[in-house]
């Protein structure tokens, strides 16, 4: 890696001001950023570690029933602490990477990165979550803007993510054999006012909502409800691990399985 300075502020305010420096970049769990640095694909002058900021960590239930997760909370903490409140989300977090990744990687880092094969984007979009930053609140529907692209501004920090807790939710992930990221994965969440279905891993535009399935599942929340539905292969990712047609097919299968797994 190229050399850089490193600061470890203890408050969001200090982190924000540190990020105001030229070529400064936030460091969450480093599970994406550090490999990038090692390959010399990024050249920040200052890394602003968020790991010393207590106000970015933790899982708590808000007065309106939403589950709020600090932007610096690790996947392992979400897996453990969200389980009683939002089991669908906890189980998604528990299936990310391996224990080392889960003990370091954070929800804020994952959502900021918005890898098209990542898990959390599906949960956030599928839950209609709100991405809370140091300056504003962004609805998930507005936040994800295509592969590795989000509504975040330079230097903006995800301080928390607020999830409305559904009646039931499930995540079905078909793993890419090498990376074990999602080759195609689907998150479904059933709310009083309807079902949301978010698909990750499949589309060249990153995570997306499958509205046709949402409608079908809103009137009948059962695996059979999506049996006849399919998404077009157009715009799906085609790579070494699966063609666009295969991914389109998996969207249907994984949706069915996510509904079956919902709790």
């Amino acid at each position: 890696m190229y050399s850089f300075d490193m600061v470890r502020p203890t408050s969001v305010a200090d982190a924000v001001s540190a990020l105001g420096q030229d070529e400064a970049q936030a460091l969450g769990g480093g599970q994406t950023l550090i490999p990038t640095l090692k390959q010399r694909l990024a050249m920040p002058s200052v890394l602003v570690s968020l790991s010393g900021i207590d106000e970015l960590k933790g899982v708590c239930r808000e007065d309106n029933g939403d589950l709020s997760i600090g932007g610096g909370t690790t996947h392992a903490t979400v897996a453990a602490e969200a389980a009683a409140h939002y089991p669908g989300l906890a189980s998604l977090a528990g299936g990310i990477g391996d224990p080392a990744v889960r003990n370091r990687g954070t929800i804020g880092g994952s959502l900021a990165n918005n890898d098209p094969s990542a898990c959390y984007p599906a949960a956030a979009l599928g839950s209609g979550a709100t991405i809370v930053t140091n300056t504003r609140e962004i609805a998930a529907d507005d936040y994800f803007q295509g592969m590795f692209t989000t509504a975040l501004e330079e230097g903006e920090i995800i301080t928390s993510v607020r999830f409305p807790v559904p009646e039931a939710a499930g995540y079905a992930k078909f793993e890419q054999p090498a990376s074990r990221f999602a080759l195609t994965a689907v998150y479904v969440a059933k709310y009083a006012d309807g079902v949301r279905v978010a698909v990750t891993g499949a589309s060249e535009n990153g995570v997306f909502r499958w509205t046709e399935a949402e409608q079908a599942l809103s009137s009948n929340f059962s695996p059979d409800a999506v049996a006849g539905l399919s998404v077009p292969a157009d715009g799906m990712i085609s790579d070494l691990h699966g063609t666009a047609a295969y991914r389109a097919h998996l969207v249907g299968v994984m949706t069915k399985r996510a509904v079956a797994a919902a709790s």
Partner: protein
């Protein structure tokens, strides 16, 4: 009661204490005073003409000691190939130059263009970014058949085309054609043996050192065969005589074949250390490993099997394209020929076997031996086509194999080798018993009740190990003998150091080899240590590959130990004032037959070194013996494997539910180590069958260049232990080596891929899918595509 010491005891591996506690001494742990670091600037193009490599600005960067380019290696030898293959027209194979750093052209992604030596690796890397490369991109040849087409771009401009050799072997064309013409049935299959990256846990490392005081070079390297590296690098590349060149391969974290070969980075570090008079270190990153370690396999084959009306195999004919990559790696030319063609008879008494191989240059990383080397490719095609034939003929695949087994030994195959011994019926029966074949229909029903398909795949294999009889391989084109050597040094108090030419990098030699010596002498294993991996300490050795260590080097060790026993008996006879012929050695005691007179091992060894009472007029003092052992034949381990898979028809995902291997390794020294070797081999075979895929795009860019895209097998890809049986109880001892051993290191990787693919095809067929073949890796997307194709 299982034995707890000596031959046959499952002793825990003594080397694991250091490996598991982080106390190993790997090449990267070696840091020499004043050492500099090298960073190789590698081509990101598959094929290009080098117009200019401008290092001027880079040379001024902080920390830079010196930058080398291909021009610095003009007049210095290139990396040699160790095996000469003769074309079917009688011409020698084409052998293009393989410079240490690219000269004139880059020929694959990863080809080193320049080497920056600096005080730190980061400085070297930063300076490398300042090198200005003017490389004109040329069209890349990637597909082998396209590489052979008229007018194809040439990988090497000085060669007439991209064909390295066109080799034919076995039964002549007339007899083969006749057998096919007369056949009652012919089954044909076209398949690919997928390219693999070996991925040992420890990447390659080299540290070159030079002492101006005595003009001596030392290379520390991650090698399976330090003497071979000394020979190749010293004699053919750098021109350093053996007595001025020491090669050390300390603890090595896995090789799987890819650490046999002599690599450019080794020659570079040795050369550069002399040039700058400082040690030079290189540690491969994982990304570099993907584009610079020799790859494995990569064959495209058409195989035909002819049968008579009674389903007897009458002929096999194969047509293979074997990818050599851009240059010939050390053993590359022998893999698709002598290590592959000679095994094409398999376990079967097929009278006509003809093998055709075209070796092709492409703009890809060189391909060479990888666990099994040639034999997995042979087994895969033969066992896949037999399975297909059984289905076409409506006969049981086990019965069809059984009916065609070789049953009389020794057996001369039509492909130049003579199997000394074996019992294929025994391993087949053992496999059937352990697999519970009669219970399969019930298990299939249970899977179907869950919405899954279940398939059963079986496979038999034979391999030629213990390489190799030097006179035979010499006739076949090997440029070296493949014997091995051992020195048994008995110390004054009776402890023993055995210097062996075999190198242990995960095989457990440090445990197994002492078990043999201890058994022969009747002493405790703790008195015996193995010394390996250092040309300055051991007499000679051709190293570890081809499941040869115990069969060849172990035999040398037995011969040397026999010499020790003979001499020790002479000393004992003197001490006991008895005739030498009356001396017996048992449990570490020399006694006079029929009397209670005896002396202990330690008394005899002490007398050898403190020869106060010693037959000095008859023998020299001291107790140290060396033996070289050249085998008279290959060894032929064989086995029968079976596996059951479950296939999810919705996703195409395949899981292995049950796996049985029944191997015949002849005698077994340490059953636990043998089982571990088979477990590891099967994991790699399952990796090849289901997961691993080294893929290039049409421009020669490596698509699977990291673990994000190259899928290694992990624990949960393998069957649960309760459904996983590794058996080696069928034993027909090798007839021509003193231990009766055959070797077990590669069996798992040879036997398992066809087993898995046969099971997948069986599962698909059971679901009504008329799928005859899926190329490896049989990934979910490929299975789904085949089902929906």
């Amino acid at each position: 009661m299982p034995k707890d010491h000596g031959i046959g005891a499952s002793q825990k591996r003594r080397e694991d204490v250091r490996f598991l506690t982080g106390a190993g001494n790997y090449t990267d742990d070696i840091n020499l005073h004043g050492q500099a670091y090298v960073y190789f600037l590698r081509s990101d193009m598959a094929h290009g003409k080098i117009n200019k490599v401008d290092t001027e600005e880079a040379s001024q960067m902080p920390g830079v000691v010196r930058i080398f380019t291909g021009a610095d290696f003009e007049g210095i030898g290139g990396l040699p190939c160790g095996w000469q293959v003769t074309d079917k027209n009688g011409d020698p194979m084409k052998e293009p130059a393989h410079p240490v750093l690219a000269q004139g052209k880059v020929r694959h992604v990863g080809d080193p263009v320049a080497a920056v030596v600096a005080d730190s690796l980061e400085e070297a890397r930063t300076a490398a970014e300042a090198i200005e490369l003017d490389i004109e991109e040329l069209p890349a040849v990637v597909d082998m058949k396209a590489a052979l087409a008229d007018g194809a771009t040439k990988v090497h401009d000085d060669l007439s085309d991209n064909l390295c050799y066109d080799w034919q072997f076995g039964t002549d064309t007339e007899a083969t054609d006749k057998a096919f013409a007369e056949a009652a049935h012919v089954t044909t299959l076209e398949l690919v043996n997928n390219r693999l990256v070996a991925n040992p846990m420890e990447p390659r490392v080299a540290v070159g050192d030079y002492s101006r005081a005595n003009d001596e070079s030392t290379l520390y390297t991650t090698s399976q065969n330090p003497h071979v590296i000394r020979l190749l690098m010293g004699a053919f590349v750098l021109g350093i005589p053996e007595h001025k060149l020491r090669v050390v391969a300390p603890d090595v974290g896995g090789g799987f074949g890819t650490k046999i070969f002599h690599y450019a980075e080794e020659a570079f570090c040795t050369f550069a250390a002399r040039q700058i008079n400082r040690p030079v270190k290189w540690t491969s990153s994982r990304s570099e490993a993907f584009m610079s370690d020799a790859h494995g396999r990569d064959h495209v084959t058409k195989i035909e099997l002819a049968l008579d009306a009674d389903n007897n195999f009458t002929a096999v004919r194969t047509d293979t394209y074997a990818n050599m990559g851009a240059y010939l790696s050390t053993f590359s030319s022998s893999v698709p020929t002598w290590l592959h063609g000679t095994l094409m008879a398999g376990n079967y008494k097929t009278p006509a076997v003809q093998v055709n191989v075209k070796a092709v240059f492409t703009n890809t990383v060189p391909v060479d031996a990888y666990r099994g080397a040639g034999r997995p490719e042979a087994t895969f095609q033969l066992e896949r086509v037999i399975d297909k034939a059984a289905r076409e003929l409506g006969v049981d695949p086990i019965a069809l194999r059984r009916q065609n087994f070789i049953t009389q030994f020794p057996y001369e195959t039509p492909v130049a080798v003579a199997y000394d011994t074996g019992d294929y019926e025994a391993t087949m029966a053992k496999m059937e018993e352990l697999m519970d074949i009669p219970g399969f229909p019930e298990r299939r029903k249970a899977s179907e009740a869950k919405g899954k398909l279940r398939g059963l795949g079986v496979n038999c294999f034979i391999e030629a190990c213990g390489i190799a009889p030097s006179n035979l391989v010499g006739q076949l084109g090997a440029r070296a003998g493949l014997y091995d050597a051992a020195t048994v040094r008995v110390n004054a108090t009776g402890s023993i150091s055995v210097m062996v030419g075999a190198h242990s990098h995960g095989q457990g030699h440090e445990t197994a080899f002492p078990q043999v010596v201890a058994e022969m002498l009747g002493i405790d294993e703790s008195m015996v240590d193995i010394v390996h991996g250092d040309t300055s300490k051991i007499p000679f050795g051709m190293g570890t590959y081809g499941s040869r260590s115990i069969a060849v080097c172990g035999s040398a060790m037995v011969r040397a130990t026999e010499k020790i026993i003979n001499k020790a008996k002479k000393i004992a006879a003197h001490l006991l004032e008895a005739a030498e012929t009356d001396i017996e050695l048992k449990d570490g005691q020399f006694s006079v037959a029929g009397t209670d007179k005896s002396v202990a091992w330690g008394d005899v060894t002490l007398a050898a070194y403190v020869p106060h009472n010693y037959p000095l007029e008859d023998i020299e003092p001291g107790l140290e013996e060396t033996a070289f052992y050249d085998p008279s034949n290959f060894t032929y381990p064989a086995g029968a494997y079976a596996c059951e898979v479950e296939l999810d028809p919705e996703t195409g995902e395949v899981t292995i539910e049950k796996f049985v291997s029944a191997d015949d390794f002849g005698n077994v020294i340490n059953p636990m180590i043998v089982e571990g070797q088979v477990h590891g081999g099967i994991a790699q075979g399952i990796g090849q069958a289901l997961l691993e895929n080294c893929a290039y795009d049409e421009n020669g860019q490596l698509l699977s260049a990291s673990y994000m895209d190259y899928a290694m097998p992990r624990a949960d890809d393998l069957p649960h232990m309760a459904n996983y049986t590794v058996d080696h109880s069928c034993q027909t001892p090798c007839t021509h080596n003193p231990l009766g051993v055959k070797g077990c290191g590669e069996a798992g990787a040879i036997g398992s891929p066809p087993t898995v693919v046969n099971a997948v095809i069986d599962a698909l067929q059971s679901g009504g899918h008329k799928v005859e073949h899926i190329d490896m890796p049989v990934s979910p997307s490929r299975v789904w595509a085949a089902m929906n194709g």
